[in-house]
Symmetry: C2
Subunit: 428 residues, 2 copies
């Protein structure tokens, strides 16, 4: 292959605030995947993109080039309409777990390729792996069979899907170039478009526990991704939702599975139920399914049936006891009053320090580690009341986890609750 460009020339163009041409983008992604463009060159380009930006044509081309670096999945054998959801990640965000079987129970096919957690945000695969026997790694044939039989599959993306993104994502993680909207948007959307879903609902988190602290930035990211989806022929919508406070009452792998099963059984914390139903209705509508009420599917047990079938199909035992951490510790209120806020980031960092999360790719996580919340913003608190229970297999982790929780809740006598609405913005 003749190399049409030099890496230095492409980096210099973006450094000097010029637009990259389609040919330059195609070349640099292909050459990076082949190892012709070196990691140190791509990281310099990523920093230039982070600081100087890309316009929508560039982002769209960049996304396509990453898709073209690998295979595209094909669900033409599936007769049901495909619908997928992606969350940008947060603390206690277990929504995929009840949502995928719920949409399956309503007649959708949900091919949910998920990831693992990094830092304070959890990963769907880590959560499901706390179920004894459950396997995240499926061949394309196995994936198709689970999807056909159960209406939903949640598994790891194969190595063939957008390999350029896999390589680039690992690089961005160690070079402080994660926080670039063009790179975040193209990373997510290249995988989702290559995955072959015909409709997609994006849950873009905002607040302290999210990538995008600022709702305005989250909305820009959401709009960028919706445009990328549309350009690729995928029906795409986005909700910008709250991640200033952890979702639900549990943070940690097995703890979140337990809470998800409660929701599928018709119970569970109100915010998790509300967001699950909101996203399910968006997915169902976008997939063109009519006459199905997801609230009914939660009450009548059909969503739970889809969950049990899906977990079993991937080797898991839905009736097995979930792992429990060996050690517990308790965190109490030191004053009385109204709980006006709870910092998702601080709670997420504490759960990470307890062993629920990882600091670098490939690190093991503890299935039982994490935090149970016994109160949320809006609750009236007595001095000395139990606020959180901390779980870990390694008690030496407690001091640094408790340190992370300092200032995590504000309790003010007669105070007003200060938090984002669950849905900050809806983009379609």
């Amino acid at each position: 292959m003749i190399e049409d460009f030099s890496a230095v020339e492409v980096i210099a163009a973006k450094r000097d605030r010029n637009e990259l041409s389609d040919a330059q983008i195609d070349w640099v992604i292909s050459a990076y995947t082949r190892g012709v463009v070196a990691d140190e060159q791509m990281s310099a380009l990523a920093m230039a993109i982070l600081l100087n930006g890309m316009n929508s044509r560039e982002i769209s081309r960049w996304t396509n080039a990453m898709i073209n670096s690998g295979e595209r999945m094909n669900w033409s054998a599936i007769t049901r309409p495909t619908a997928d959801k992606h969350s940008t990640g947060g603390v206690g965000d277990k929504i995929t777990l009840p949502l995928a079987p719920l949409v399956a129970a309503c007649g959708g096919a949900v091919p949910q390729l998920s990831g693992r957690g990094l830092a304070h945000t959890g990963g769907t695969l880590d959560k499901l792996e706390s179920i004894p026997g459950w396997r995240a790694d499926l061949s394309n044939e196995e994936m198709l069979k689970v999807l056909q039989d159960c209406g939903a599959v949640i598994c790891a993306a194969g190595a063939g899907l957008a390999p350029a993104d896999k390589k680039l994502y690992a690089l961005r993680d160690v070079t402080a170039t994660v926080e670039a909207i063009p790179l975040i948007a193209s990373s997510i959307m290249s995988k989702k478009i290559a995955e072959g879903t015909s409709s997609l609902v994006l849950d873009v988190k905002t607040g302290s526990g999210a990538f995008m602290h600022d709702p305005a930035q989250a909305a820009i990211l959401a709009r960028t991704m919706v445009e990328l989806g549309r350009n690729a022929g995928v029906k795409t919508r986005a909700l910008v939702t709250a991640m200033d406070v952890p979702l639900g009452l549990t943070v940690g792998n097995a703890l979140e599975v337990r809470e998800s099963v409660e929701v599928l059984a018709g119970g569970g914390p109100s915010d998790v139920v509300e967001l699950t139903l909101l996203l399910a209705r968006e997915m169902i509508e976008l997939a063109g399914i009519s006459g199905k009420d997801p609230e009914v599917a939660l009450k009548d047990g059909s969503a739970m049936d889809a969950w049990r079938k899906m977990i079993s199909a991937q080797g898991g035992n839905p009736d097995a006891a979930l792992p429990v951490a060996r050690e517990k510790n308790q965190y109490f209120a030191t004053e009385a009053g109204r709980m006006v806020s709870m910092d998702a980031l601080k709670v997420g960092v504490a759960a990470w320090r307890l062993g629920a999360g990882r600091s670098r790719q490939g690190e093991k996580v503890q299935a039982g580690a994490g935090i149970e919340l016994h109160a949320k913003p809006g609750d009236d608190i007595k001095a000395g009341q139990l606020l959180m229970t901390l779980h870990t297999d390694e008690p030496e982790r407690f001091p640094r986890a408790l340190e992370a929780l300092v200032g995590s809740v504000s309790i003010v006598a007669g105070g007003e609750v200060n938090r984002l609405p669950l849905v900050v913005e809806r983009i379609q």
Copy 2:
């Protein structure tokens, strides 16, 4: 050693337009030199510095950290005052060759650590290596002996001098992060300060053939370096000088040595003589030498004697015939009139394409390749007059070299010469 920082944290600080602390700078340079900070992390940081800048405290600390990554030279055994010069590089810039022995002849000690050429700019060591037998690589002991015996030494910097800069310079070259004033200034000054000279004159080039095309940018670079020198206790001055037109009448290694020897013999092109004398006077004054006129030292043969002694001391034969390229080609004027301009960059690129320069570090250069100029801006030209002679060992190189020369000279009947003054600005 305990790592006090993470690379991601330091990169993110500069990415977010924060100042780096002294401790962060010390750590990142040391950790990069030790391989703890990876190339892809340093290149992202370099791009963030290029785009977001560093203040003078940061640049000063960065420079010191690079000096501290290696050894410092010590000339306390030398009784003469040490004086050094550095040029940021240009086309036909052979000034170091006559200048070092000239200042030696006036009573200075010139410890001139030089580099090799890259792209269209030539390197002092490449030029001198066209002299049969001459060696650039000297041990510290050999260097001291040549300096003591001859008053000047021109050689390669040893591996022990600012190793962080060596590693970073090679990285910047492939990641489009060369053109950052903080990084250029700290790279040059870390080597010059570690080299241990007590006075330093900087020749900062500006115009098409220089790094810094824009005189205002060149002046900023010059001021930054003068401040770094002062802070380190080195008496430092800078001249911003013209590099819109090639210096002298030769571009290429052996061709430039020949012209330098002409200057040392009391002849040579007027611009080369003028700049050599200007820089010599600055160096002599800064070194505190009085009662010496460098013009006399050129006329009375004492500068030539110092040259011959220095070349011999480094294994070279000053009487040997210089290499001559095997093939020649000629470039003629197609119209009549006044030559109003000559583009240094185009001439430099043509010489590079003839084999006088290299595209990547370590590549061999041709000793005899290059260009002789038979006219300069201000000359009246006849149609068909010979303007340049091109030299190379490989005649297949002529077409692309001639292509680079298209538009290199402007000839306008009755036109006004359009060029920078030799000295654009003097900074002390």
